[in-house]
């Protein structure tokens, strides 16, 4: 997921488990989608335990980013094109 360094993002959570990050998205955002690990987002394949939960708020995508040594970060980044692609999939909620 080296491509993540090429976008501007905000860190919403760090030090949480992958599961806690998914729960955070489900409880804090009214729109969220479930994708399989390996889903391509911002040019990077997502790492995670299936299903990977992605949140949407305005033009921002909220997504987990996992580093082998540092665990999972929950990031927020602007991505209208990614949102359109997510919404084009079968909507989960």
């Amino acid at each position: 997921m080296s491509c993540i360094d090429q976008i501007e993002y905000e860190i919403l959570l760090q030090g949480a488990s992958f599961r806690e990050s998914a729960e955070y998205i489900r409880s804090h955002f009214s729109e969220w989608h479930e994708v399989e690990p390996g889903y391509l987002l911002f040019g990077a394949h997502l790492i995670g335990v299936p299903p990977v939960v992605l949140g949407i708020e305005g033009e921002d995508v909220i997504f987990p980013y996992t580093k082998p040594c540092r665990g999972t970060f929950l990031l927020r980044a602007r991505g209208p094109d990614e949102i359109a692609r997510l919404r084009a999939r079968k909507k989960k909620r």
């Binding site: 690990p37 394949h45 082998p68 040594c69 999972t72």
Partner: protein
């Protein structure tokens, strides 16, 4: 011993953060055991994990191909490459996430090698299809080596 990987089975060893000492020695040992069985080992890991492995086996008697972790995930996710077996070294939540990713993108028989102080708690978070070998090992690799020997083909 060189293995011709064109027709032989392959096994991925996916290494996590090398924070826990047993990872490197168990990985080298597992490479040897796989080669004994005619299986070509391929190691994917972080930069630090790869350097530890390459320094431990400078003439590559045991290890074979060593590749970047992110590149490996990209190749499997994009269906450019896959393996017959995949061993994921897990000692934290990040390792579980990588194993979960492989469970979704790879057709390999997946084995999670869970170790470290909190091995049992970490193993309990593996809720996807994955064989689990969990041992509370940090410095002594032998219990893990013995348990691994029971799941090797």
């Amino acid at each position: 011993m060189a293995i011709d990987t064109r027709d032989t089975p392959t096994a991925l060893l996916l290494l996590g953060c090398p924070q826990v000492p047993v990872q490197t020695s168990v990985a080298v040992h597992l490479c040897d055991q796989l080669r004994e069985r005619g299986i070509a080992p391929v190691i994917a890991g972080t930069g630090a994990a790869r350097r530890l492995i390459e320094v431990a086996d400078p003439k590559r008697h045991y290890i074979g191909e060593v590749i970047d972790l992110d590149l490996c995930i990209d190749q499997i996710a994009e269906k450019q490459r896959d393996f017959d077996l995949a061993f994921v070294f897990i000692h934290n939540d990040g390792g579980v996430s990588y194993a979960g990713t492989l469970s979704a993108i790879s057709k390999a028989r997946l084995v999670g090698i869970v170790y470290g102080e909190h091995a049992d708690e970490t193993a309990a978070t593996i809720t996807f299809p994955c064989e689990v070998v969990a041992v509370k090992a940090t410095h002594n690799p032998m219990p893990l080596v013995v348990r691994l020997g029971k799941v090797l083909p």
